[in-house]
Symmetry: C2
Subunit: 497 residues, 2 copies
């Protein structure tokens, strides 16, 4: 079913060579202009768009996600590369800040100028479930390159051939656009991934994957002699709360929406709505089951045999729980595939055993949790732990403030309509949340993802000519800057010394 | 000599009570307005200024740093609290970002609104060497409170009575200004510090101290079931490079400047210039020795007996090295005190044994390293590892670009004049650098220190009334916001949907 057999392992000497090339490339990317980096990112996007049909066909062979979804994912991936190009040119991300000297201050204040600077070569782990958008040329790679950091991707074995081919295209496009050799590397193999996180030349890591694997790599990154940031997006159950009024007003629409969301892509999304809280006795779980039956064609091949086996195990564990009913679907899953399952329990049951009932079940299942009153549901949502998203479905005019307070506490994105699958790439997007959904206080999607690969640097009493162009007296690059505490837009006069 | 004998250990139940109070307070600080938090910070500053004479006397008894230095440090500390009040009101730190929906996009883009949100209760470790500015009400505390996070300080035993008294004053002032009970707590004891880092209610830690102690606490923070950010400022040797031209033009001034900087406060600064690169055969080390002799009154009491003993050990190790000459001062230090020592070696020696010769020696010593050419010096500076600062002294017209390139690589702040001791508190300040100088890519000084205690949150398709005021359609708070990718200042029209 899966293509892991064709995955290879990069020899340690090859990893060293890629890391050394990335370090050499960093000297160039560090000194590159915003215009240069923007052109590199756009060249990579153009090359991927040009190779779209070839890549989608390869991806479908390896992932079974289907051409329409994969075609859309390529478009999302290239739009993301172009958005980072725009953001690099806009320049706010540099946080350019100038404080003129103040000889009257006690002690006298020197001239201080601060901006962000790229960290160095970055390791990126491709994800199984987004062969384009969270893989070779996905968000981690795009944001690191935008920041000025060379990237070494560790390809995911679930789409080894696609990773290799995408890497060839991206590397060639970057270098053809003028980026230095070594700015982009690609390696393979489990042991290689471990060596990548521990490699002395690697200054940060981006990872999207399981809690188990991510935690192990996070620990390695922290245990280095020189710990490095490990940006992991690990696990989420994405609670949804439906109020009684919403359910009364539009149960059919909600059931259909949930059915569509949790079965999308065989449920293999980190934003899959895994637990849905509804008023007790509403029959909503049965409606969801009926909606699934009306639209689903049965078992769908999953990304890997391992993911399918883990899903089957998770469903068996839930279905075998004394307080859980199977409402729709067969908990006995077929090897390699995932078939939708709807389960039901109560807030009392999840509060008694959150470890079992809130364990992320990566695949097409959802657990409908019936609540007696909203306070019970909120207590149970607090027990879920950190999630990427949390959703409330209410009616206009309902006081949702107490609900939003709890959802904002446990999640990184709070939705008031729709379903959490689907992560728009835009300036205001944020993809991360309290542990275990992510390992840090940063986002892996949206323009601010660049901040992960930058560190501040200040120059004190520097001659103008010794400063980076971003911090010279004259704002030659036309970027937003903060001068003597005042934020000034390009074209507006800045305070003078 | 020191007052560690009067330090106590907080009982575990008291720590739990402080943490529970901080958690309750967080519900209030999270919902507080910028104006409220600014008034709390200013009230704390006013109360410390009012108690200045009492606090300075207490601090001098415990730290021996002298009334002038300590009086200045109080002023710096209260100015810092007021700067954060200004920054909270200005509002840029929230990164408020609004993307209006785009139904024409494929897939349709929802309405997305993003800002930063406080993490929760924060643990802060007071430093030995800054009893005000990096302790109870120092930068970590000020930035956490500004962000909306309650704080529990673990007082440093080197100034236990001062910590306790400062904490009383700060806690009373905060609550009198309307902050919730529990917004500020104070605990004591080594084991209590460990328990603080591991406490389930604590969401981040700020620490200033030794590499050894900081690494141990960093490891504990990462090994939690739910890892939390540990912002440690640990260790730095702060290299200085003097060009031949600069030395020729102003050797006396440079020798006097260095002598003043490395002996300031008995050399107990994290920004102490520990290694100074000068052209070989220049006799600069002897000049520094003479400058010290001309100004120093001999041994000075150090902060603690432990610090004095570690300094004596470090000096003995350096002085005993085959390639190191003692130029001035007696390497046999008196117990409890520190007397200035000037040592000399070569770039060849430090490159052969960087582990010994670049080990931070916390106290009044500096190692003059003679270089044959600048390239040798730069190679040696690369071997120093991460530092808080790096300094170049050159003459106008010299091409310093190759030097700045290396200094910017190893340090968080690059100086072109003056000496690295002294950290101005301003918008553009940055205090941090590559490992081991700090544990993360954030700063502990300057306005952006707040970012450490905030995480992003996004709201999708939220009704206007359900949004925080910062993100509503009308910019009622008058803060800078980015709308549809365009940064807009208060009072300017924002793009409409």
């Amino acid at each position: 079913m899966t293509d892991t057999a064709i995955a290879t392992t990069t020899a340690p000497a090859e990893l060293d060579a890629a890391a050394a090339a990335a370090r050499r490339a960093f000297a160039v990317t560090l000194a590159s202009t915003a215009a240069e980096r923007a052109s590199w990112l756009r060249a990579a996007a153009d090359a991927l768009d040009a190779a779209r049909d070839e890549l989608v066909a390869l991806a479908d062979e390896e992932t079974h996600l289907g051409a329409p979804r994969l075609t859309g994912e390529v478009a999302r991936t290239t739009a993301q590369l172009r958005l980072f190009a725009d953001a690099v040119l806009e320049g706010s991300y540099l946080e350019a800040t100038i404080d003129h000297p103040d000889p009257a201050a006690i002690p006298p204040r020197p001239d201080l100028r601060r901006m962000l600077r790229p960290l160095g070569p970055v390791g990126v782990f491709g994800a199984s479930n987004f062969p384009f958008a969270f893989s070779v040329a996905g968000g981690d790679t795009a944001s690191a390159l935008a920041a000025g950091c060379p990237v070494i991707v560790k390809g995911h074995p679930a789409h080894a051939r696609l990773s290799r081919r995408t890497a060839e295209i991206v590397a060639a496009a970057l270098v053809a656009a003028g980026a230095p050799e070594g700015v982009f590397g690609h390696v393979e193999g489990h042991e290689t991934g471990i060596a990548l996180v521990q490699h002395p030349e690697i200054r940060a890591v981006g990872f999207t994957g399981s809690l188990h694997g991510g935690r192990a790599l996070f620990d390695l990154a922290q245990q280095r002699p020189d710990p490095i940031p490990f940006y992991g997006e690990l696990s989420a159950v994405n609670p949804v709360l439906i109020t009684a009024a919403a359910l009364e007003a539009r149960a059919d629409e909600l059931a259909a929406g949930l059915a569509g969301s949790f079965t999308l892509g065989a449920g293999q999304f980190c934003t899959n709505p895994g637990v849905v809280f509804v008023p007790a006795g509403s029959g909503f779980a049965e409606q969801v089951g009926a909606a699934v039956a009306a639209t689903s064609a049965g078992p769908v091949p999953m990304l890997t045999d391992g993911i399918a086996a883990a899903f089957a195990d998770g469903i068996a564990r839930l279905a075998g729980h004394a307080d859980v009913e199977v409402i729709a679907g067969d908990p006995a899953q077929q090897p390699g595939s995932g078939a939708p399952v709807v389960l039901r329990t109560t807030t009392a049951a999840v509060l008694a055993d959150p470890g079992t009932l809130f364990h992320e079940c990566f695949g097409p299942s959802t657990l409908v949790v019936e609540y007696a009153d909203v306070a019970d549901a909120l207590a149970a949502i607090r027990a879920v732990g950190g999630s990427l998203t949390a959703t409330v479905h209410a009616q206009p005019g309902e006081d949702v403030a107490p609900i939003v307070e709890v959802l904002a506490e446990v999640a990184g994105r709070v939705l008031f309509a729709g379903w959490p699958t689907g992560v728009a790439v835009s300036w205001a997007q944020q993809h991360g949340g309290p542990w275990p959904s992510t390992t840090t206080i940063h986002t892996s999607v949206g323009v601010t993802a660049m901040r992960r690969f930058l560190r501040p640097i200040a120059f004190q009493d520097a001659p103008d000519a010794a400063l980076p162009p971003e911090l010279r007296d004259e704002n030659v690059l036309g970027i937003p800057r903060r001068v003597n505490g005042v934020l000034v837009l390009p074209g507006q006069p800045e305070p003078v010394a």
